[in-house]
């Protein structure tokens, strides 16, 4: 057993004692108080237990950001089970893979979701809990007091799991301890100066590490209410939610900041952002121009930072009042970093190197992937991020990736998956996908070798773009097709995607 107390029980008790009637969460027209959150989280734990869920079991959550989410997440934690929040935008095939991969004991999702469909074919998945916006049907029939004291996961079992895209396209489970959820509050939350007077709104969803920390750890640790936004975050919808709920802290990603800035008309109806004291950006590097223009146009400071699912979450960030656009900022307290060359030796200040980070919240490893764990989490706890950085006087500046993975709209994109989809187009003999900078942001670009009988041209390029849109989720769709006579390859025939990057 861990020496730590159950994190959910601690967070709930602290807020219930301090301000039971204060709002913990806002969602659309609904408000959930800390008292009600504690009661429903206990009900959820009792419900899971009634379905046979035990400490250490995985409970997969596939839900929109709604009041049901924190209840389900806390309920699983109270039981010592490992909640595994998974994006609500995946395909049935992806859910089938994840549910089987983690050996899910229970799934919380909405009726008719692709995850619910996938669950029908998964062995050992005993409980599919169909949820509305407030939680699963029948939740109120369970006691609001825990029937057993809050439990801890068995030794060695994960406290929670997050799924992250892998280079082959197969997602991998990133394991964390319950107590890892608290580390960002002390470090990153301190950097941001979060207090109980804040209202927090994250456009990044609960199922992403960045969203989980912003919508769960920071709010519950500091007693600051959070806004949950269940829909697809478009710029006008986000402005409307900000005007309505009046958050003080806004967490979002560069592609959405770009769209928000394009949509922003100061003084226009539904665009009152005067409540915001600070904006934060993570998920991919924030372009310098976007950073400056955001602050100039809105009058609200924006801080860029970098985190990862494995590090849970932000380990380098700008500081309020000291933002340096075009940089990721300085180390967050609690983390250490090294920049190393290919031999593992530290590089000089100003020189690019592979970023390694270390800190108490770093993942204990990937679920059932010992080789991948060994490659990514080095002896002595150093996490290989795959990002290339330069450091100048303690400030970190992003210089790209050391592998072929693309970070598009804060989602990991494996070129392999996009290439597989494009090869299904009859004109595509071979292809490689690499990064292209558009407005300073990374987008996938398809480099295509045509099959015999097809002629390169604007019409065919547009046809391939449209074809990709029918096959792939939005962030994976190429924004440009470039025709090549042949792809750059090594003597052994491996495609050299890095030669195709246009950054």
């Amino acid at each position: 057993m861990s020496e730590h107390a159950n994190v959910a029980a601690m967070l709930l008790a602290r807020n219930r004692e301090r301000h039971p009637e204060k709002a913990a969460y806002f969602c659309d027209d609904d408000t959930l108080t800390y008292q009600a959150l504690a009661a429903d989280a206990a009900r959820f734990a009792n419900l899971l237990r009634a379905h046979g869920v035990q400490p250490g079991d995985r409970v997969v959550l596939v839900l929109p950001d709604s009041l049901a989410y924190p209840k389900a997440f806390l309920g699983a934690l109270l039981l010592g089970a490992a909640p595994a929040p998974v994006s609500a935008d995946l395909s049935r095939e992806d859910y089938a893979f994840i549910l089987a991969d983690c050996g899910a004991k229970a799934l919380a999702t909405w009726e008719g979701s692709p995850a619910a469909e996938a669950a029908k074919d998964v062995d050992g998945l005993d409980a599919v809990l169909l949820c509305g916006p407030h939680g699963p049907w029948g939740l109120s029939g369970h006691s609001s007091e825990l029937q057993l004291p809050a439990m801890l996961p068995p030794t060695g079992a994960p406290g929670l799991m997050l799924y992250s895209s892998g280079s082959t396209g197969r997602p991998k489970g990133v394991m964390h301890r319950q107590e890892d959820l608290l580390i960002p509050a002390g470090g990153w939350g301190g950097v941001l100066g979060v207090s109980a007077d804040d209202i927090i709104f994250s456009a990044s969803k609960f199922s992403f590490a960045y969203g989980l920390i912003s919508s769960f750890s920071l709010p519950l640790f500091f007693g600051a209410p959070a806004v949950l936004f269940p829909g697809k975050p478009g710029p006008y919808e986000l402005f409307a939610a900000i005007a309505r709920h009046r958050p003080t802290l806004f967490f979002c990603v560069p592609t959405l900041y770009n769209m928000l800035l394009r949509a922003y008309e100061p003084g226009a109806a539904g665009m009152d952002i005067s409540s915001l004291r600070l904006c934060f950006s993570a998920g991919e590097a924030l372009p310098e121009v976007l950073c400056r223009e955001w602050t100039r146009t809105t009058g609200v400071e924006i801080l860029d930072g970098i985190g990862s699912t494995e590090a849970l979450n932000v380990f380098i960030a700008n500081r309020p009042g000291e933002a340096r656009c075009g940089t990721s900022g300085v180390l967050v307290p609690g983390y250490e970093a090294r920049l190393v060359d290919s031999a593992g030796a530290d590089v000089a200040d100003g020189a690019p190197g592979d970023l390694l980070v270390r800190g108490a919240g770093v993942s204990s490893g990937y679920w059932n992937r010992p080789k991948k764990t060994q490659e990514t989490i080095l002896p002595e706890g150093w996490l290989v991020t795959g990002d290339i950085y330069a450091r100048e006087n303690g400030v970190y500046i992003h210089r790209g990736r050391s592998d072929d993975m693309l970070k598009v709209g804060a989602h990991w994109v494996s070129p392999v998956q996009v290439e597989e989809a494009l090869r299904r187009h009859p004109a595509v003999l071979d292809c490689a996908v690499a990064a292209l900078a558009v407005e300073g942001l990374v987008r996938p670009c398809a480099h295509v070798v045509l099959a015999p009988g097809f002629e390169a041209g604007q019409k065919l390029g547009a046809d391939i773009l449209r074809f990709a849109r029918g096959q792939l989720p939005p962030h994976m769709c190429p924004v440009r097709v470039q025709f090549l006579a042949e792809l750059p390859k090594t003597p052994t025939g491996k495609v050299q995607r890095f030669r195709l990057r246009q950054m």
């Binding site: 478009g234 394009r262 976007l290 223009e293 558009v438 300073g440 547009a462 924004v479």
Partner: protein
């Protein structure tokens, strides 16, 4: 370079925007308010950069909202 609004509608179609949406856009209203989404916009921008040799990563480009804005930008920069 002078680009007519109809030329720009053609480029939107080339960028994968549904023809009926491209044809119906009000050139004076924000494109994002009319159904142009988070993939259409960068694809359209990437096409303009490629076709006209312009750079869309500066402060001016970030303020382009309407088809009229883009037509004016290309006239002045391409």
């Amino acid at each position: 370079m002078t680009m007519s609004i109809d030329n720009l509608r053609g480029l939107l179609e080339e960028a994968g925007v549904r023809p009926e949406l491209a044809k119906s856009l009000d050139p004076a209203a924000p494109m994002l308010r009319q159904g142009i989404d988070s993939i259409d916009f960068p694809t359209f921008c990437a096409l303009l950069e490629e076709r006209f040799g312009v750079s869309l990563d500066d402060a001016t480009a970030l303020s382009l909202r309407t088809l009229n804005d883009f037509a004016r930008f290309l006239k002045e920069n391409a």
